[in-house]
């Protein structure tokens, strides 16, 4: 009788440990995924000044936009910035850069510049990686939120005071696939 009782208690403890660990793992996965977005964004910040400098030499009419991008970047690299503001700045940089990439079409010399072509390739690569990192983040949030709301992990989550996390909204224009036509033809 006592043996059975001990058995049941051990079983319950085991289940609690498993639930607890799976929740913690899911929460950490979200943090990890956010970290990978951050890493990708840093990569992009490093590339941005180079790209802007190269483009500046050729573009006469888009100086304002280019200056704006540089300003946005210096704001965005501030480590104290809260995540939601950071994402907002990111989206602004994105939109501005997309505009510039479209304008490139009007500057055949720039388009043929070897250095620029390489930078553009890297830019597209990073864009796609950032988008992938965001999707990975949302998938991690999805799995975490499911655990917070589904039975029986929801009981555990309630006791651990875990809150639901919000998804990163992916701007409409970014949801469209990058296609060569969008990039090279205005």
């Amino acid at each position: 009788m006592i043996m059975a009782l001990i058995g049941i208690i051990i079983f319950i403890i085991l289940i609690i440990v498993l639930l607890y660990n799976s929740l913690v793992a899911k929460k950490n996965a979200v943090g990890n995924a956010f970290g990978s977005i951050d890493a990708m964004l840093k990569k992009r910040y490093d590339l941005l000044p180079n790209l802007v400098e190269t483009v500046k030499q050729y573009m006469n009419y888009e100086r304002d936009t280019l200056t704006k991008v540089t300003e946005l970047r210096s704001k965005a690299v501030d480590p104290k910035l809260p995540p939601d503001q950071k994402i907002q700045l990111e989206n602004q940089i994105n939109t501005a850069m997309r505009g510039i990439m479209v304008q490139v079409e009007n500057y055949p010399d720039l388009k043929a510049n070897q250095n620029f072509m390489q930078l553009q390739g890297s830019w597209n690569e990073i864009e796609e990686q950032i988008s992938a990192a965001r999707r990975a983040y949302n998938a991690a949030v999805n799995s975490y939120n499911n655990a917070c709301e589904q039975f029986p992990t929801n009981i555990m989550a309630g006791m651990m005071n875990y809150q639901l996390k919000t998804y990163i909204e992916i701007p409409e224009e970014e949801r469209k696939n990058i296609s060569a036509r969008d990039l090279f033809n205005s």
Binding site: A33, S36, M40, Q118, Q120, G121, S122, N124, E125, E128, Q129, S131, A132, A133, R135, A136, N138, A139, A140, N142, S143, R175, N177, I178, S179, A180, L183
Partner: protein
Amino acid sequence: MSMQSKAEFLKLYQSQLMPALRSLEPARKEALTAFLTALFFVLASIPGFIAFSRIENPVVLLIALVPLGIGIYGFFRYNQKKKDYAAVFKERVIRQMVKLIDPNLDYYPEHLISKVEYKEADIFRNPIDRYSGDDLVEGALGVTRCRFSELEHQEKKESVDSKGRRHTNWVTIFKGIFFVADFNKHFSGRTYVFPDAGSSFLGVGKLFEKWTTGRGDLVELENPEFEKLFTVYGTDQVEARYILSTSLMERLVNFRRKANTRLHLSFIHSKLYLALPVNKNLFEPNVFSSGVKSGYLKEYFSYLELVTGIIDDLNLNLRIWGKGP
């Protein structure tokens, strides 16, 4: 087959394949005659064996063995003739078809995707006890290098039954077309796209998907149609999504519909590997019916088209991610 390629194929068939096939007809008929002759002698030996089993006279056995010997030799000769016929057929017919798909493609009737490359793809991990294949096509389509061949991978399974007898079973792990292409993005991890196992009863399959180990973690993607058809594993969650962009997922769904068969893909060392099962031996001539018929050639052509079409279907020629040709 699309309308345009159908028209092109028919043009090629009428202008080049049909004359080639016609000139091959004597060779085919010769092989057929060799087969029928061999069959005749083997059948002719049967009465002798029946007689021997009744009267057990060695002379009768001799009478039976002579036609059997001739018959076996006949089959040997038939095999030789069939091989010769197949070689010329591939040279004159299949090579033309490959050229019609793209003049930049080379065709090697006797070669195959190497075992090393097949292992690198890491799709089927069963022991490779028998490995064969032929009809290698290789070249650049646009800026993307690719190659594919027919392959068959078999595993030997031995079992002992209740009476202690050994049974050897050859299990086919993969038979079909194996395709390798240079992928248009850099990556360093491993990503596997396998047929879905998760749509079974009450999500039990989903649970099962998570248990599959050794290929990294399950990668759950946001395209429901894609998730219905495929299960993705990868060593890096972000990289798997970098490879399987929203557009590539859509394209894979469409390709899967077009191919209408279970597909296994892997993305390793910046390469794309695809195993497309085909349950017959492609690109071979048929000795037993008129070679001039176009039906079976159309099928071969549509397989060639399907496989080479992957480059366009998955947009692999789009090189905007800093990875050159």
